[in-house]
Subunit: 221 residues, 2 copies
């Protein structure tokens, strides 16, 4: 079983519950961090002390507070840990359930498991810990389709960036200029308009404001 585990969550209730699960599994050393920078520091310090963590269980969303942060989300933390410590096992334990987020965390950011903080979360987390310890990938049953189903109308990073810019108040003219300056293709106003129309059809949105609403509800932006 894992020897030394770090729990990263800013909800004390979650920390206590995960602590119990780890104790029941026989994990010897359990530490906690309440925000991402603290977690990153603890991981680095542990390596310097020649007593590294071998598992991290982290949430994705953290409450912003007065601290200056370089890592503001669980996703940032997962990326950072994966790039710095390629062998450190990472379990994401979050209530976020959108397929795009799951796919990103597991396929792009390199998490070893994604456990949905659902009603069955307490039962799935021990299973995820065992699976990851055995070298297996684990994703909550309800979210497995996120990794397998190939959607014919996939949302691309370009789409997300485009709608994010629209959501942040930029006009299509301004976005076109920005894309041209950043060498992001396609960059014409017409193309942006057509891509937006495509997304509106896909989401059944009446206009761009509605599209932004639907994509925020789906947590794509």
């Amino acid at each position: 079983m894992f020897r030394k585990v770090l729990i990263v969550d800013d909800h004390a209730t979650t920390n206590d519950a995960v602590n119990s699960i780890l104790s029941n599994l026989g994990v010897q050393t359990i530490q906690k961090a309440l925000y991402c920078d603290e977690a990153n520091l603890k991981v680095q310090k542990a390596v310097l002390d020649n007593d590294p963590f071998d598992l991290i269980i982290t949430d994705l969303s953290f409450k912003e507070d007065h601290r200056e942060s370089t890592l503001t989300s669980g996703e940032d933390l997962v990326k950072k840990i994966r790039s710095t410590f390629p062998d450190l096992a990472i379990i994401v334990f979050s209530q976020e359930d959108h397929f795009q987020i799951v796919r990103t965390l597991v396929k792009k950011c390199g998490a070893n498991a994604y456990v949905w903080k659902s009603r069955e979360g307490n039962r799935e987390l021990p299973r995820a810990i065992e699976a990851v310890y055995n070298g297996d990938l684990f994703v909550s049953r309800q979210l497995e389709r996120a990794l397998h189903q190939k959607e014919t109308t996939e949302i691309t990073d370009y789409d997300i960036q485009l709608v994010s810019l629209l959501a942040n108040g930029y006009s299509k003219k301004e976005i076109s200029s920005f894309f041209k300056s950043e060498n992001i293709l396609p960059s014409s106003i017409s193309s942006i308009e057509k891509r937006q129309n495509k997304l509106q059809d896909q989401f059944g949105a009446a206009n761009v404001t509605h599209l932004v609403t639907l994509m925020k509800d789906a947590k794509l932006i």
Copy 2:
């Protein structure tokens, strides 16, 4: 101390942690509900059995699932319980922290306490339970200003309804017609335009799409 308590939360980890806190406080009977309709049913059944609950601790947001629901949020549940059982103590235990939501839950919906699921949530919850048992109102220290500070540029229900309609893809023309048909004043296109401009200034939004984004981020819509 409270005799019989119902915990309403769809996160098993939270349920377990709150369960521990209540046991430590000497609460004899603790039951759980994973969604709002289940909670409402349990409360009604307990009254019929002549063994009612005297406290409910509930989250606000619940994951939608396949069930047909009449109560889809903690706010719905709080309103329902307060209108049906005026003396049943209600504690809201949520990670939602926007002042408007706190004000609504406590002042309009009649919750006896609002505890923020923050890093100090585990320490504040026992204090909230004691305070409510003693007949006092309790709100997490960081959110107390929600009840006291009188904002000069308060967001009204009209504003929220207006922006919700904009967010859902309706044009100002359509909204004007809708307001006229529902006898909601003011209802002219000009007034709607001016009210939207006022909100855009207030939030520092570049356009209506940006306003919707900022108000969703603030969880006002």
